[in-house]
C-alpha cells in the first residue's frame, strides 16, 4: 500500500513545489497578451463574470487576498489551486469509476 501511493505523494509534492516557486516566474505578458498589445485589442478585455463569483473575495487573480507580500500571495494561491485541482480531478475520476459496474471479463 505504501509504495503504491508513494508516487502519488511524490507527484503531488512536486506540483506543490512548482506552485511555491511560481513567484519567481517571468511576469512578462504572454503570447496572447503580447499579440493583443501589438495589435491594439488588449483594451477589449473586460473584468468578466468571474470577479462576481464568491471566489473573487478569496483570490484576486493568482493572489490570495489578505497577504501583503505579492510573492507570498501568489505562492499561497498556487498551493491552494494545486490542491483544489488535484481534489477535483481525482474526485471526478473516483466518481466516474464508481458509476461503472465491475465486469470481470472486461479488457480494461
Amino acid at each position: 500500500m505504501g509504495s503504491k501511493w508513494r508516487w502519488v505523494l511524490f507527484g503531488l509534492g512536486f506540483a506543490l513545489v512548482v506552485a511555491l516557486v511560481s513567484p519567481f516566474a517571468s511576469s512578462d505578458p504572454d503570447g496572447l497578451e503580447r499579440v493583443a498589445n501589438d495589435q491594439g485589442f488588449i483594451e477589449r478585455e473586460t473584468s468578466g463574470w468571474a470577479s462576481k463569483l464568491p471566489f473573487a473575495s478569496v483570490f484576486s487573480g493568482y493572489a490570495l487576498r489578505g497577504l501583503a507580500e505579492p510573492g507570498v500571495a501568489k505562492a499561497m494561491a498556487g498551493v491552494a489551486g494545486t490542491l483544489v485541482v488535484f481534489g477535483v480531478a481525482w474526485g471526478t475520476g473516483v466518481a466516474l469509476r464508481r458509476r461503472r459496474p465491475e465486469r470481470p471479463g472486461s479488457p480494461r
Binding site: F14, D28, L32, R108
Partner: protein
C-alpha cells in the same frame, strides 16, 4: 529595451522574415511596447494573468455560444468515455497530472522577444499520461478551476479555451504522438521523445491558430495580422512546451514507465497500444 520586435509586414499580410527583422516602425513600436510593458507590470500586480487563455471581452457572442456548445458536447462525451474505460490505476494519475499542469501553468518562462513570456499548456502531456479522453478531462478541470477561482480566462470564453487547449491540445497532440512514435518504430526513448516533442509543439501552434481564427471571427482582430502573430509567438512557446513535455515524459519513461498510457513494451509490441494498462 526589446532587441526584437514582433512585426507583420503590412503589404502582404505575411509574417515578415521571422522574428529578427527590423521594421521601419520598430523605434515607434519599441517605445509603445516599453510604455505598455511598464503599465502591464503595474496592472499585473493586481490583475489576473492571461495565458493563451482568452479573457472575457475578446470574443463575440456567436463565437462564445458556438464554442461553449462545442465544449459542452465534448465534456459530456469525455465523461461518458472516461466512465466506460477508466481503470483504477488512472484515477490518482488524473489528480496528479491535473495538479502538476495547473502548477506548471503558473511558471511563465521568458521568450527571446523582448518582454514576452509563455508557459506550459500541458494538453499533450496529459494525453500521453492518461490517453486522450481522460487527459482532456484532466486539463478541462485545470481550465475550469482557473476561470472560476482565479479569473484566468473568461467565463464567456471558457468554451473557446476548453476547445483550443483541452480538446485540440490533447487529441491532436495524442494522435500526432502516436503516429510519429509508430513511424519511428514505437520502441525506445528516441521514438518516444521525438514523437512527444513534435506533438507538443504542433498542438500549441495549432491551438494558437484556432484562437486567432476565433479572434478574427469575433471582429476583434484582423485575420491577416493576428494569425501569423499568434502562430509566430506560439512557435516559440511550443519549443518550451516540447522541452518541458519531453523532460517530464522522459523522467517517467526511465523511472515509472507503467504510468505512461502507451508504455514501452517490447515483448507486447503486437498488442494494441494502450491495451496493457491492467498489467501491474
Amino acid at each position: 529595451m526589446p532587441a526584437w520586435t514582433l512585426t507583420v509586414s503590412t503589404d502582404s499580410g505575411q509574417f515578415s522574415k521571422g522574428l529578427l527583422c527590423s521594421d521601419p516602425r520598430a523605434p515607434q513600436s519599441a517605445l509603445f511596447w516599453r510604455l505598455t510593458t511598464a503599465k502591464q507590470v503595474l496592472v499585473r500586480l493586481l490583475s489576473p494573468v492571461l495565458a493563451m487563455h482568452i479573457p472575457d471581452g475578446f470574443l463575440s457572442l456567436p463565437v462564445c455560444a458556438a464554442m461553449g456548445l462545442l465544449a459542452f458536447v465534448m465534456l459530456a462525451i469525455a465523461l461518458k468515455q472516461v466512465e466506460r474505460t477508466l481503470t483504477d490505476r488512472l484515477v490518482p494519475l488524473m489528480g496528479v497530472s491535473a495538479a502538476f499542469i495547473f502548477a506548471a501553468q503558473m511558471i511563465n518562462f521568458p521568450l527571446p522577444l523582448g518582454g514576452t513570456s509563455g508557459h506550459l499548456l500541458g494538453g499533450t502531456l496529459a494525453a500521453i499520461l492518461l490517453g486522450p479522453w481522460a487527459g482532456s478531462l484532466a486539463v478541462m478541470v485545470v481550465f475550469i478551476v482557473q476561470a472560476l477561482l482565479f479569473q484566468d480566462g473568461g467565463i464567456t470564453a471558457l468554451g473557446a479555451n476548453l476547445f483550443n487547449m483541452a480538446f485540440v491540445g490533447t487529441f491532436l497532440g495524442y494522435y500526432v504522438y502516436r503516429a510519429v512514435r509508430s513511424l519511428l518504430g514505437d520502441q525506445g526513448w528516441f521514438a518516444m521523445a521525438t514523437a512527444t516533442g513534435v506533438a507538443s509543439w504542433l498542438s500549441v501552434v495549432t491551438a494558437s491558430a484556432i484562437a486567432a481564427l476565433q479572434l478574427a471571427f469575433s471582429g476583434t482582430a484582423n485575420l491577416n495580422l493576428v494569425l501569423p502573430a499568434m502562430m509566430g509567438v506560439h512557435a516559440l512557446i511550443g519549443v518550451g512546451e516540447a522541452v518541458l513535455t519531453v523532460g517530464v515524459v522522459s523522467f517517467l519513461w526511465r523511472t515509472r514507465p507503467d504510468l505512461l498510457f502507451d508504455p514501452p513494451s517490447p515483448e507486447k509490441s503486437t498488442a494494441p497500444i494502450g491495451g496493457t494498462l491492467d498489467g501491474q
